[in-house]
């Protein structure tokens, strides 16, 4: 076994996630996409395997694994449905923030339902006026005795309207990043409301909506970390979120390569399989080579985040940028190899083409990833 091989525990968790995907996700994912179904039952079933608290501590009910294990799980789930896998990633990121930085009260209140994914959590950072420039957020939380009163709006929130819990970055202080805090806000509190479901290019198996807070009274014990630590916590959450999103691209792209291999063997033109053409073979070879390179970088970055290495943020950003761009480029070529059939909803590739496109945009755009990497290189 080389130092780059997965260990037995990692192989076992990957196998478990693959089997779950083959049985519970792959057969249904096309229908979820077409009908815009948010598969709560399937998500709950994934929760029963521990996938709702992958890197939540065992003390808090999680399975306490590292980021490489998480990437392996996300990659396996995304082989069936990147959109559902990505939702589970966002949920994990939110749970980890509560477990890692929250006080005992907030942990006890939410994690027992969140870890098994009986309830699910959304991550609320982006606002209509602040996407890449996330620290410019305007949602305000004003202290009022043992409560905060929260007013503002969050945009493009995955799970918006469906999630029971919203891990929300709010402004409690001045206008710089140090004026931001992290609050857990329940869906059913008075003053919480939701915009219409966003219509989007892909990611149809998870709802996306604006989340509005109108004078919502949130108990002060729901603060995660200290006042002013919210932005730092949010960014630390994103290190893991970025790895997971990259892993979702790896899984989706691998699925499309496998589909393309099968299709090009089966499809006959000019009296032979199109897999017999040199152009097809070279395309397939490039696709797999580039994806393996992305996978190697992502796994290395995942280990760095688990070990809290000093260059973990740079590596997570590089891996997210490279895995998501490579994933989309691989899927694009898989679609091309399918010809006109790739354009039809009867074949899965077009769904992956749409779903993976947003991975280059969210959890920090790939332009922001480059800013992070270059800033670290040039400082």
């Amino acid at each position: 076994m080389s130092q780059f091989d997965l260990n037995d525990g990692q192989l076992a968790i990957r196998e478990m996630a693959r089997r779950f995907t083959a049985n519970a996700i792959t057969p249904h994912a096309g229908g979820w996409d077409e009908q815009h179904v948010f598969p709560r039952d399937t998500i709950r079933a994934a929760g029963a395997l521990g996938f709702g608290g992958i890197y939540v501590s065992e003390k808090a009910g999680g399975i306490g694994l590292g980021r490489l294990e998480s990437a392996l799980i996300m990659e396996a789930l995304a082989y069936g449905c990147p959109s559902t896998s990505a939702f589970i990633s966002i949920h994990n990121m939110s749970c980890w923030m509560i477990d890692r930085f929250g006080g005992q009260a907030v942990k006890d209140k939410y994690l027992p339902m969140l870890v098994p994914m009986e309830h699910v959590a959304s991550y609320c950072l982006t606002e209509a006026g602040s996407g890449s420039d996330a620290a410019a957020l305007k949602t305000k939380a004003v202290s009022d005795g043992d409560h905060y009163i929260v007013t503002g709006s969050k945009q493009f929130i995955s799970g918006g309207g469906e999630s029971e819990v919203y891990v929300t970055m709010v402004r409690t202080g001045g206008e710089d990043p140090k004026g931001i805090s992290c609050l857990v806000i329940e869906r059913d509190l008075p003053g919480v409301s939701f915009g219409a479901q966003e219509r989007k290019l892909g990611w149809h198996s998870q709802p996306t909506a604006q989340v509005n807070f109108d004078g919502v009274r949130v108990p002060a014990e729901n603060l995660v970390g200290a006042e002013g630590e919210g932005f730092r916590i949010a960014m630390m959450g994103l290190d893991g979120g970025r790895l997971n999103i990259g892993a979702c691209s790896l899984g989706g792209a691998q699925r499309c390569i496998d589909e393309a291999v099968q299709y090009t063997k089966d499809r006959k033109q000019f009296g032979q399989s199109i897999a017999d053409f040199q152009n097809t073979q070279f395309m397939l070879a490039d696709m797999q080579t580039e994806l393996e390179a992305a996978r190697a970088l992502l796994y290395a970055a995942a280990v760095k985040v688990t070990e809290d290495a000093p260059d973990k943020t740079r590596f997570a950003a590089m891996a997210k940028r490279f895995a998501t761009d490579t994933g989309s480029s691989v899927v694009d070529r898989a679609l091309q190899l399918h010809g006109g059939y790739g354009y039809l909803m009867d074949y899965p590739v077009e769904r992956f083409w749409r779903d993976l496109r947003v991975h280059s945009i969210l959890e920090g755009t790939n332009q922001v990833m480059r800013m992070i990497v270059a800033r670290d290189m040039l400082r």
């Binding site: 982006t126 420039d133 219509r199 989007k200 053409f277 091309q336 006109g340 009867d346 083409w353 496109r357």
Partner: protein, 387 residues
């Protein structure tokens, strides 16, 4: 060497551009495209009211006249907002009218071109079959057998856009199996789309959703002799001269899309603020915009060049193929970058960038795949056939 438009062509372009802004704005096109179940009749009706279905159809048959340059200008301007929905116009007025105009008898032209020019006859094209788009001939199984007064057709077609709402199907079928070469023995029909035995089913797809692409089956469909276009058995040779025009139309559509993409991307970076100012001040976004503008200009030059060769009646098969490849790859790249420039808003179905991206992706595979284009460019340089 001058690829600029004439004054008359510029005036026509301006008229179309103003009309498109007023009658076919992006918001309406986006709303129409998203509706998988319904053909974009509102666009059809507006094009009809304005008489645009007459473009390219001779005046003696009620059309507006005009050549490939006119069609190119029109397609580009319409595609700026309509993207793939330009085929609401193109299938009938460009592809359909071209076939009837070239091979129809005087009676057939009188019978069909006039209602087409008026927007009263809708065409769909049934050429490709389930087993082959690139190897169309190898896959061709639909056959027509001579019977008293006409032909009896059996088989199946794919990618018949608008089949459910068409009045006529431009149908390619094998009428003679006993031929030396497989491109012999094919016949083109202009069949009544409502004939008994024709069944169309919708193929939900990634883009150009409202256009209603269908698989169509033909079960003992009777087509009368007067609905045959040109000489039976000769269809393949009849279709070849129309291919350059088709490549030019695709080029014009992609260029029009790039016009729309650049317009939207530019407007967004000038308006959207981050890190204390408009995002258009960032160097990398300026470079992205510069790339899109350069792809647009490259495509325009090649398009004008090929169209001018075609209008002058010169050989341009290889150049038309190059245009098709460059234009389609540039359009998809530009839309992809446009999505990135707009971030989350680019992914939203409330904006047009994702529609440009979805719509034009198919053009890297149709009407001929860019891989097949590369094969034929290489072959034109004296290399042996590689497929």
């Amino acid at each position: 060497m001058d690829f600029s438009l004439t004054e008359e062509q510029e005036a026509f372009r301006d008229v179309v551009r103003r009309w498109v802004d007023a009658e076919a704005p992006k918001d309406l096109m986006r709303q129409l495209e998203a509706d998988e179940e319904n053909y974009p009749f509102p666009l059809w009706d507006k094009l009809k009211a304005q008489g645009f279905f007459g473009i390219g159809i001779p005046e003696e048959f009620g059309g507006l006249g005009g050549d490939v340059m006119t069609q190119m200008i029109f397609a580009r301007e319409l595609a700026r907002t309509a993207g793939g929905l330009i085929w609401t116009w193109g299938v009938t007025s460009f592809a359909g009218a071209k076939s009837v105009g070239l091979y129809g008898t005087p009676e057939q032209k009188e019978r069909w071109l006039r209602p087409m020019a008026e927007g009263n006859l809708r065409v769909a094209i049934s050429v490709t079959e389930p087993d082959g788009g690139t190897d169309v001939l190898g896959a061709m199984k639909t056959n027509a057998v001579k019977v008293e007064g006409g032909w009896k057709v059996n088989g199946a077609k794919m990618w018949t856009t608008g089949a459910k709402v068409a009045d006529r199907l431009l149908l390619l079928a094998r009428t003679d199996k006993d031929v030396e070469k497989r491109h012999q023995g094919l016949t083109l029909f202009f069949a009544d789309a409502k004939s008994p035995g024709i069944t169309a089913s919708l193929l939900p797809k990634l883009g150009m959703r409202a256009m209603g692409s269908c698989s169509v089956t033909f079960d003992d469909v009777f087509i009368p002799d007067e609905d045959v276009l040109g000489t039976p058995g000769n269809a393949w040779y009849m279709m070849l001269p129309t291919l350059n025009n088709e490549r030019i139309m695709v080029g014009a559509q992609c260029l029009g899309a790039m016009d729309g993409i650049l317009e939207d991307a530019l407007a967004y970076v000038k308006e959207r603020k981050a890190f204390g100012g408009i995002i258009g001040r960032f160097q990398i976004l300026q470079h992205y915009i510069a790339d899109i503008a350069t792809w647009q200009k490259t495509t325009e030059l090649l398009l004008y060049y090929v169209a001018s060769l075609q209008a002058a009646g010169k050989q341009c098969g290889v150049e038309a193929n190059m245009l098709k490849m460059v234009a389609t790859e540039n359009a998809v790249k530009a839309a992809d970058l446009g999505i990135q420039i707009m971030g989350g808003m680019g992914y939203s179905a409330e904006t047009d960038m994702q529609r440009y991206w979805r719509d034009h992706r198919i053009l890297r595979m149709t009407p001929i795949s860019n891989e097949m284009v590369r094969n034929s460019i290489a072959e034109s340089l004296g290399l042996p056939r590689s497929f």
